[in-house]
């Protein structure tokens, strides 16, 4: 069951990190016009479709002994084959998703409504906060989509985590391992837990979404 706990911890933390980083990026891109914005938007859409396993590879190379970050001793830079490395990889996967969907939601808010908000005396920050609140259904979808992607993700956590028993084994990598070993019953049981978690999370989000969109 520590596998379940670790899964929740890794994906939960990664989701938190990517929400905190991704929503402001998405809001900024959706609201502010600046030189090079189309280029940044194109980059973001590309990053949204990036194969997770490639992100895993990049993070692996970055953190490995000979990689650019592998040499640096810092509490902020995780080591390979630790849960923190897996959190980093999943965050890198999730940030573009959160930012991209948030941007789309913010772009969907009527520009004339934004003008009205400003006319009522909003500062640029207040304007951004109100616009996000108007786009809240889309922002929730952004978070759900990101969670769906990272919770189901195998390749990246396998690469940077190493699927070490009791240390970096999570539900998805455990399913892979047990299937390989021929323990189909255990694999199926783990799979059902995975689906169950997804169901609970999505149901909660749906209820939340209905509350806020009323």
């Amino acid at each position: 069951m520590e596998v379940v706990a670790l899964s929740l911890r890794v994906s939960g933390t990664a989701l938190l990190v990517s929400t905190v980083i991704g929503i402001p990026i998405g809001a900024f891109l959706g609201l502010r016009r600046f030189v090079g914005r189309p280029f940044v938007m194109a980059l973001l859409y590309t990053a949204m479709g990036f194969p997770p396993v490639v992100v895993g590879l990049l993070v692996y190379l970055l953190l490995s002994r000979n990689g650019p970050l592998g040499q640096i001793e810092s509490a902020w830079i995780p080591r390979l084959f630790t849960p923190e490395a897996m959190i980093l990889a999943q965050s890198v996967i999730a940030v573009p998703l959160v930012a991209g969907f948030t941007m789309a939601a913010v772009l969907g808010v009527d520009p004339q409504l934004q003008q009205q908000i400003k006319s009522l005396g909003a500062t640029p920050w207040q304007e951004m906060a109100t616009t996000l609140s108007e786009a809240r259904v889309g922002v929730i979808i952004a978070i759900v989509a990101a969670l769906g992607r990272i919770a189901a993700e195998v390749g990246a956590v396998m690469l940077v985590g190493g699927n070490i028993d009791g240390r970096t084994r999570v539900l998805t990598t455990a399913v892979v391992l047990e299937t390989r070993k021929g323990n189909f019953e255990l694999a199926i049981a783990l799979g059902i837990i995975l689906i169950g978690i997804a169901f609970v999370v999505n149901t909660t989000m749906l209820i939340l979404q209905r509350q806020v969109s009323k």
């Binding site: 004339q112 409504l113 009205q116 009522l120 005396g121 500062t123 108007e134 009323k214």
Partner: protein
């Protein structure tokens, strides 16, 4: 007359190099209702956006309360907050009616607005709808909420951009009455854009005709309608303006 509240000089607004507004001179006096009339697309809404400091002018200066602003410098928040606009569409937030009405006060850090909200809602006849979701209101009710949301701020200047277009006579009458009262009791300065010349006649102290981004004539309401100085004003008032 007293010192003007606004004074525009050589104000020009261009979008993508195309000039849509060119105002040599225009003054708005404290406490007056100035109506801006003119056909569609002549720059009335653009002028209101400049007066609300939502956009800077491309050229020229806007004097507001003795301070001169051109397109370069940022207008201080405190000055910008003395002005607000009610647009043709109500643009309510997807929240309750009372949250919409309290919104501007919250932006200003005023959290305890319950009494004020109840007060303005009563003035627009919506005291029983405070808890209702704003998106479930009828068109006329929504516009009255938009008016209440502006009123509660007690702005120095209230800009109205065709606030009653598409409303039924009952709501038009109600909104006109509230506007008239606010102007009379609080000496609130108002600039009213309308393409209904009868509304201008009913509410305004002065009327200005805009054509192709330029002010053709500004005159006291009575003069504007009865002894217009410009033949184009006469044509517009008669209702046979060709455009």
């Amino acid at each position: 007359m007293s010192e003007p509240l606004y004074e525009l000089r050589q104000v020009e607004k261009a979008y993508h190099g195309r000039s849509v507004l060119h105002i040599d001179e225009l003054a708005v006096y404290p406490g007056e209702i100035l109506a801006l009339v003119g056909p569609s697309g002549v720059g009335k809404s653009t002028l209101l956006r400049l007066l609300n400091f939502l956009e800077p002018p491309t050229k020229g200066t806007i004097m507001f309360r003795g301070q001169v602003f051109n397109g370069q410098q940022e207008v201080p928040l405190a000055e910008r907050r003395r002005v607000t606009t009610v647009f043709q569409r109500p643009f309510l937030l997807n929240r309750s009616v009372k949250a919409n009405v309290a919104y501007g006060l919250h932006l200003r850090g005023n959290r305890d607005s319950r009494e004020q909200v109840a007060d303005v809602l009563a003035r627009v006849g919506l005291q029983d709808q405070a808890q209702q979701r704003a998106r479930t209101l009828s068109g006329g009710e929504a516009q009255r909420v938009a008016l209440a949301r502006a009123m509660i701020l007690q702005p120095d200047v209230l800009l109205l951009d065709e606030p009653t277009a598409n409303l039924d006579p009952y709501n038009v009458g109600m909104i006109e009455e509230i506007v008239r009262q606010m102007n009379a009791t609080q000496a609130m300065t108002m600039v009213l854009v309308t393409h209904n010349i009868f509304q201008a006649k009913r509410l305004a102290h002065r009327v200005a005709l805009l054509l192709n981004g330029r002010v053709v004539e500004t005159a006291p309401t009575d003069t504007f309608f009865n002894q217009p100085g410009d033949p184009r004003t006469a044509a517009f008032v008669r209702g046979d303006m060709v455009y």
